[in-house]
């Protein structure tokens, strides 16, 4: 068919430095964003995602500078998320060199932002990040809900219904993170990945829980994901991007080598 499944390393950026929290709490330094992005480009990453986790809005400018620097020397798609509240934030990031902007909490508080932003800049630039947790008991029919505030605050919104709504409002892609898997290294929540991927026409990026290469394969084959996102397994050198692609290819998945 020709379209490769994408491998996307995700860099959490705090005040201009790449970090990765385990369950968003324990944070280890994994380097300078520009050199990390350059390294991933050379290693064959299909795309790079930056999540700005800087708490203070005073540091917005720092992130714009990071995006400008990366976009000036790394010529693969760049998605930037974190702290997007208005269409003007979207525009500023796109003008700095981002290709796609990921909207998370702001979409929950103001879903119309997704429509406004996609009307202005096109759906292909708008990613909606969905932080989801399983809320059903073992043995029940699985149900998932949207959480905000790094997975601490429930919203009561059903994940699959939300995904459908975001697609209708103009999202071009969904970044689906299982908050109860994030940092656990036990694999994606394949149930929610499959449920969301089947429910929408737009591409779905699976995120949260990758610990081994088989998890990437499962995300695509069992979860139906169009792309897989991971951080720590790549950041800390456990696996190289090329190794991950070779592993996926050996299991019949089309990748860009």
């Amino acid at each position: 068919m020709g379209l490769a499944k994408r491998i996307i390393p995700c860099l959490d950026v705090d005040a201009g430095r790449v970090v990765k929290g385990v369950k968003f709490l324990d944070i280890r330094d994994a380097g300078d964003p520009v050199s990390v992005a350059r390294g991933y480009n050379e290693a064959g990453a299909d795309e790079i995602t930056f999540l700005d986790i800087t708490a203070s809005s005073d540091n917005r400018e720092t992130m714009y500078n990071v995006v400008e620097q990366v976009a000036s020397e790394v010529f693969i798609p760049l998605t930037v998320g974190g702290g997007i509240r208005a269409v003007s934030d979207v525009r500023t990031l796109l003008n700095a060199g981002a290709d796609k902007v990921s909207i998370n909490t702001a979409a929950v508080h103001n879903p119309e932002l997704v429509r406004e932003a996609s009307d202005k800049v096109g759906s292909q630039c708008i990613v909606v990040a969905i932080d989801s947790k399983c809320v059903s008991e073992p043995g029940e029919t699985p149900r998932w809900e949207i959480f905000t505030h790094g997975g601490r605050k429930p919203t009561g919104i059903d994940t699959v219904e939300w995904a459908i709504k975001m697609a209708e409002l103009g999202a071009g892609e969904l970044l689906l993170t299982s908050m109860d898997r994030d940092g656990t290294k036990i694999g994606f929540d394949l149930g929610v990945t499959k449920a969301v991927s089947d429910a929408v026409e737009i591409p779905v990026i699976a995120s949260g829980g990758v610990g081994e290469l088989q998890h990437l394969v499962d995300g695509v084959v069992k979860g139906g994901a169009d792309a897989v996102l991971a951080a720590s397994i790549f950041h800390f050198g456990e696996f190289a991007i090329g190794e991950a692609k070779a592993f996926m290819q050996a299991q019949g998945i089309e990748v860009r080598i």
């Binding site: 060199g97 096109g122 630039c125 071009g172 892609e173």
Partner: protein, 224 residues
């Protein structure tokens, strides 16, 4: 030293395009502008663009660059990227239908909804759906070099380029088609005429092969 102008009509990520060209244009001047005089002074013109067709057409008009494109087309090497390709055709289905520049006769159509991977469709088991494909077509797809062209120099036939689009070009004639892709159906992703090369994919986001295409463009004499 030559002057390469990237047309700025307020649609899209021009920084990536200009930076990618700068990275391969050793010592050349790369200017991002909507100024008709500067565009007219260019040795080469690049017209990028993303977003909706109606917005792009309106923005081209508002920026006053439609005439520049019409007048200069054919006089010096011109590259259209993504919407910079689609606006060259006659008409787009996007936004309930919008007339485009008609510099390349043909239609811009939306992918089917739902879209299926027909290469995996088994006629004997029609109930078992062929794999459903997502729209937008987003990611790295193989580009078949339908015809040899100076801009393919140093790029393998079947190399992958980065795409992000929900509408595709259907030129009236195959004559200009130099690149094709298969995503639910086969469609044109690169067209070329004398002094014109336009592509649906994003060379500025397609890593090494994308940069090679841009490098080829800035040394291209415009012949096909």
């Amino acid at each position: 030293m030559q002057r390469i102008v990237v047309i700025d009509y307020g649609m899209g990520n021009l920084r990536s395009v200009s930076k990618a060209i700068e990275s391969v244009a050793d010592g050349d001047e790369v200017v991002v502008t909507s100024d008709a005089d500067i565009i007219a002074s260019a040795d080469r013109i690049v017209c990028p663009g993303q977003g909706a067709a109606a917005d792009c057409m309106a923005a081209l008009g508002d920026a006053g660059v439609v005439e520049s494109i019409q007048q200069l087309m054919g006089s010096r090497p011109f590259m259209g990227i993504c919407m910079g390709l689609q606006v060259l055709l006659t008409h787009s289905e996007e936004n309930e239908g919008i007339d485009c520049l008609n510099l390349l006769p043909g239609q811009v159509r939306r992918f089917d909804n739902p879209l299926f991977d027909k290469t995996k469709f088994d006629e004997t088991k029609p109930d078992e759906h062929a794999q459903r494909l997502k729209v937008p077509h987003m990611g790295w797809s193989k580009v078949d070099q339908a015809r040899s062209h100076p801009l393919w120099s140093g790029i393998d036939d079947g190399a992958r380029f980065y795409f992000a689009h929900s509408y595709y070009c259907a030129p009236d004639s195959d004559e200009a088609v130099v690149g094709r892709c298969n995503y639910g159906k086969e469609f044109a992703v690169a067209v070329a005429q004398t002094k014109l090369f336009a592509c649906q994919f994003h060379p500025e986001k397609s890593a090494r092969d994308g940069l090679q295409l841009l490098r080829n463009f800035i040394s291209w004499d415009g012949s096909v």
